[in-house]
């Protein structure tokens, strides 16, 4: 997979530092993501991986550093801006809309693409209905893609964990993102579920050419999937490079691989 020739840099984070009050979560992190690549961030729990994603899509605002996305440099991302700029994500502990069906959850993922105004939607006719149908179709394609037809109308609250993760991925895909942030998409899954999820990640990357930033614990998975890997440890950046480089990096071995797994 490493011989794939990757596009130019779409996302560049420079010297990001983030702290909550006294606690320093991220310390001068810098790396970039190239178009169409699968980029992994690994590290032990509390290494600040999720915080990094939260910085990228603007949930957290770093005190130092800059983020360059699609040529625009800003000191911090804003959540809505990130979404509007085609950054979608999934969450470590599932953040689905519990009260809604699978279908509605994924439909909600398309909210940015729906233009008709309140009045049209109130009479549910003409433009509004046309839009609903057109987007329903798109969503159905995603449902088909993720093979979740049989849970289409089930309230997500009732779904097993693995399925919820899938639905969440679907919701992220619905936004047709350029950059997809996956926060431990395979955590707590059994082997088959993991395999499916891997397949989906790869398919997404190659069917839609989506750039993917991935946090994952399962080293096997990471090494197979990723083009390049960033290693964090307690907010510090230990290494950055192709899987085998990282694998052979001493600092990493000490800090992470050394520790069981």
């Amino acid at each position: 997979m490493n011989e794939r020739n990757l596009g130019d840099v779409v996302l560049e984070v420079k010297g990001i530092s983030l702290s909550f009050g006294a606690i320093r979560v991220l310390n001068n992190i810098s790396f970039n993501v190239r178009k169409g690549e699968i980029r992994s961030i690994i590290g032990p729990n509390g290494a600040g991986k999720s915080s990094m994603l939260n910085v990228i899509n603007g949930v957290y605002h770093p005190q130092e550093g800059s983020i360059t996305y699609r040529g625009e440099t800003r000191q911090q991302m804003k959540v809505h801006h990130a979404a509007a700029q085609g950054i979608a994500r999934t969450f470590q502990n599932i953040a689905l809309f519990k009260g809604m069906s699978t279908l509605d959850n994924i439909m909600t993922g398309r909210n940015l693409k729906i233009k008709s105004n309140l009045l049209w939607q109130a009479i549910y006719w003409g433009k509004a209905q046309r839009e609903e149908i057109e987007h329903r179709r798109k969503v159905e394609e995603i449902i088909d893609f993720l093979e979740i037809q049989e849970i289409r109308k089930t309230p997500v609250g009732r779904l097993p964990y693995g399925m919820q993760k899938r639905v969440e991925l679907g919701r992220a895909l619905a936004a047709e993102p350029d950059l997809l942030l996956l926060d431990e998409p395979m955590a707590g899954m059994n082997v088959e579920e993991k395999e499916d999820m891997c397949r989906f990640v790869l398919d997404i990357n190659d069917e839609f050419g989506t750039t993917i930033v991935l946090i994952e614990h399962d080293m096997g998975v990471v090494m197979d999937l990723s083009d390049r890997v960033v290693v964090l440890d307690y907010g510090r950046q230990l290494a950055d490079g192709a899987p085998d480089e990282v694998r052979s990096n001493q600092a990493v071995i000490d800090a992470y691989l050394g520790v069981s797994h």
């Binding site: 909550f20 999720s50 949930v59 969450f91 470590q92």
Partner: protein, 330 residues
């Protein structure tokens, strides 16, 4: 607890405004009478009333802290306790005995509420529990008045209620308010100590943070709930006595709850000091506004001024002055 810097700023600014606005009003409009002694008289009157507000707010805070329940019934408990007290008193019970009896009643009430309501609604969404407490409110209002009738009763504890003059007569303060405030203050301190230094108190604080911790303290959740509701009941009784003997025991006491709400959001649902500071600010602010601003806009603003004031604070601190800051985790 460490008070954040901006809280202090906010309070300072508030104090400044509380003085500045009335003064300016006095200057710009002739139908507002401003004079320093009068100002202080009003302010102090307000503060004293504020202490009473704090008292009711305290009941809310205790329960919210310990069980996450937004207890709308606090006002009703005030009324109910007062009614019971007077009722028993009228039945010929000496006042001290009546007070003890009422305490017992409030304790029983707490037990019943825990048994019947809380236990069967455990782990429901907050709004459901909130609605339940409104249900309790209706019940208590109805029950109390069914039992003791709805006509206005006077409650006399022999507290001097004639106006007293202080600072060589420049400032007039109602002695009753003074006494009431003192009593309230004492109660507040007692409670604070109770929370700081007793095992149960600590357990209660633990519960607020997380229920597991509370269990580890070794007190079953249901007991804790009974206890907080009982304590809230006692606080209600005290408030009931104070307000009751001030305004007479009548249905309107139940509405004190509505007065306490702004105090709460201003101080923060989970903070005892918040309830106190909030009470004082609201009390004083309200009176000052009533006297120095209201005349300009048609008066009678005390219904909502407290709320607007609180709202203004919320815009700066959505979690209230002393409430914990919520950090969004994803």
């Amino acid at each position: 607890m460490r008070i954040e810097r901006d809280v202090i700023y906010i309070i300072i600014v508030t104090l400044f405004l509380m003085v500045a606005i009335p003064w300016t009003m006095g200057q710009i409009s002739e139908d507002i009478f401003f004079e320093w002694p009068f100002f202080f008289e009003v302010a102090i009157g307000g503060l004293l009333a504020g202490v009473m507000y704090s008292l009711v707010a305290l009941g809310f805070v205790l329960i919210f802290k310990a069980s996450g329940v937004f207890n709308f019934a606090q006002g009703a408990m005030v009324l109910f306790s007062a009614l019971t007290l007077v009722g028993l008193n009228e039945l010929g019970m000496p006042i001290w005995l009546a007070i003890i009896a009422t305490l017992v009643v409030m304790l029983l009430l707490a037990v019943v509420i825990e048994r019947v309501v809380l236990r069967s609604l455990v782990n429901q969404e907050h709004i459901i529990l909130f609605m339940a407490t409104i249900g309790i409110t209706y019940f208590l209002d109805g029950f109390g008045q069914t039992l003791w009738g709805s006509e206005v009763k006077t409650l006399n504890l022999g507290i001097p209620s004639d106006p007293g003059f202080y600072f060589d007569g420049k400032i007039l303060i109602n002695d009753f308010d003074l006494v009431a405030a003192l009593l309230a203050g004492v109660l507040v301190i007692v409670l604070a100590l109770f929370f700081q230094y007793t095992r149960i108190g600590r357990a209660l604080r633990a519960v607020a943070d997380d229920h597991q911790a509370a269990l580890s303290v070794g007190i079953p959740l249901k007991h804790i709930w009974v206890i907080v509701w009982a304590v809230a009941g006692i606080v209600a009784l005290v408030a009931g006595i104070m307000w009751g003997s001030k305004l007479g025991v009548q249905f309107s006491l139940a509405l004190i709850a509505l007065k306490a709400l702004p105090v709460l959001i201003l101080g923060g649902f989970t903070s005892v000091p918040g309830a106190i500071v909030g009470g004082l600010i609201i009390g004083a602010g309200e009176k000052l506004a009533e006297v120095f601003i209201a005349p300009l806009i048609g008066g009678g603003i005390e219904d909502w001024f407290a709320y607007m004031l609180a709202l203004a604070f919320l815009v700066f601190r959505p979690q209230g002055l002393f409430g914990e800051k919520i950090i969004e985790r994803v």
